[in-house]
């Protein structure tokens, strides 16, 4: 409701009051110079001071009201009064209808966003937990230790295989050397055969000589009878030697044949065994190559797993960072909702007091500024001059 202040409501000027009081004081001083008159004078002076004080206060409030009235008049001049009233009432009615709707929309959106973000963060937490479980052993230290253990086992296996290869190769060489010795033995037996035939030749010549001696002994007659006996014994010995030689020869031949057969078999066996050795060495080499190749695959898989783990960790950090938008927006929406509620109350309270409404607008803005907690709000309310989007997370230690 408007209030008017006219010039007629002004109090009498101060100068008149001062003059009137001065005249009263002068007249009283002329006719009564007693103590009671002085007391009266003091009271009058006090009264005068009070009058001057209230006059000052009144003037100040009066001029303030005049200024407000002037501002209001200027406002009214811009819109013709009837249209202004109609527009004002229409605006009030619209705001009455719209403000609760806005509040409801903001509150519901905020609640929906909060619930959705909470669900989202729970899901991400579960995903992270699952990934952590899956890659529990894939941390750098554990992987390196495992890799070292595998390499150690592979090296030990390689050493064992090398020793085995050397043993196999040495065994093969030894078999060949044994065969060579046996073959030398066979050639040794052949020389024995030669010697035996020489012995037989000697026995044959002795036999021949003994025959000659017997002939000579017969020619000698009775004198050669004794010699003939000796010659006969020598012939018997020669024949016996020849028989022995024959037996030795056949034994050596038999032994030589058997040895040759044994050497032949041994050589076949050594050849087969060498083939087997070569095959075994081939198996060892291919097994070692396979182990190396598997180790490379394990190493490559482990590296991929580590890289994947780092990637997942990086993504989770980004998720943690970006999920926090909800907290900020929720606060902004809540503050906006509170401001709308306050606005509704202000409108209700000042529905018929337009000047009061003007004053309340400033108050509402101040309340919004005091409620602001985020840079987004401060920027919107003109409290911040830098771009709030550029503000990185900042850490301060005290």
């Amino acid at each position: 409701m408007e209030f008017m202040v006219s010039d007629a409501t002004k109090s009498p000027p101060v100068s008149k009051l001062v003059a009137a009081t001065g005249i009263i004081v002068a007249l009283t001083a002329q006719y009564a110079v007693s103590a009671s008159v002085y007391a009266l004078l003091l009271n009058a002076a006090s009264l005068l001071s009070l009058v001057i004080f209230y006059q000052f206060q009144f003037n100040r409030q009066h001029s303030s009201l005049l200024q407000q009235q002037q501002a209001h008049r200027q406002l009214l001049k811009k819109v013709p009064p009837p249209e202004y009233e109609a527009a004002y009432n229409c605006l009030m009615d619209n705001l009455d209808a719209v403000l609760p709707v806005w509040q409801c929309i903001l509150a519901t959106s905020n609640e929906d966003m909060t619930n959705a973000t909470q669900a989202l963060s729970e899901h991400f937490s579960d995903i992270n937990f699952a990934v952590e479980q899956g890659m529990q052993n894939a941390n750098d230290d554990a992987v390196q230790q495992r890799q070292q253990r595998i390499n150690k086992v592979a090296l030990a296996a390689r050493d064992s295989f090398d020793t085995l290869k050397v043993a196999i190769e040495t065994g093969g060489k030894r078999d060949t050397e044994t065969l060579n010795v046996l073959e030398q033995l066979v050639s040794g037996l052949q020389s024995v055969e030669g010697r035996v035939s020489e012995v037989q030749k000697i026995a044959s010549q002795i036999n021949l000589l003994s025959l000659n001696a017997a002939i000579e002994a017969a020619r000698a007659g009775e004198a050669g009878r004794g010699f003939a006996v000796v010659a006969d014994e020598v012939r018997k010995l020669a024949n016996f030697s020849a028989e022995i030689g024959q037996q030795i020869n056949s034994s050596v031949n038999e032994f030589g044949e058997q040895l040759k057969a044994a050497i032949g078999q041994a050589r076949t066996s050594v050849t087969e065994s060498r083939g087997q050795q070569q095959q075994n060495l081939g198996v060892i080499d291919s097994t070692m190559a396979q182990i190396s190749s598997e180790l490379d695959v394990i190493s490559s898989d482990t590296s991929s797993l580590l890289a994947l783990r780092q990637q997942v960790a990086g993504h989770m950090q980004e998720v943690v960072y970006h999920l926090q938008f909800q907290d900020r927006l929720s606060q902004v929406l809540q503050h906006t909702n509170e401001a709308l509620e306050e606005l509704q109350q202000l409108l209700e309270r000042n529905k018929y007091n337009k000047l009061g409404l003007l004053a309340s607008a400033t108050e509402l803005l101040e309340h919004m500024q005091s409620r602001a907690t985020t840079d987004l709000e401060r920027k919107a309310l003109g409290m911040l001059h830098q771009d709030y989007r550029n503000t990185e997370s900042e850490l301060t230690f005290f």
């Binding site: 991400f124 943690v320 960072y321 938008f325 909800q326 900020r328 606060q331 907690t373 850490l395 230690f397």
Partner: protein
């Protein structure tokens, strides 16, 4: 080394993401929804190495909670990190005055939070 950390925030999603970041680094996390709940959790769990708290919360705000926690003999020297959207210097000064050790403005990068935790706990 694993530490027990009390995380106080009225936003469930923030509690979740802070816990996610801290648990990933091997820490134990106790969650509280506001200052009143946090004081109760402190009474229930005597071995809290660090408090990470929001500022603007219903029932009891973060700075009032820290004051109350610091009044308890066993938590007098427990380090406190405020994790908040509040970046005003006056609030920070208020925090410093009641014994807050660090102030991290949301949204936070997990590595920044973890570096602060390592330094404080």
């Amino acid at each position: 080394m694993s530490k027990t950390i009390l995380v106080v925030d009225d936003s469930a999603s923030v509690r979740q993401v802070v816990s996610l970041a801290l648990k990933s680094a091997g820490h134990q996390v106790i969650e509280a929804v506001d200052g009143v709940d946090a004081l109760k959790k402190l009474d229930d769990n005597k071995k809290v190495h660090l408090i990470v708290s929001d500022v603007n919360m219903p029932n009891m705000d973060g700075l009032s909670f820290v004051k109350a926690a610091k009044a308890k003999a066993e938590y007098r020297f427990t380090p406190v990190l405020m994790l908040t959207t509040e970046s005003g210097e006056d609030k920070k000064a208020e925090g410093k005055a009641i014994g807050v050790k660090a102030w991290l403005v949301k949204p936070f990068k997990p590595e920044l939070l973890l570096s602060a935790v390592t330094k404080l706990a």
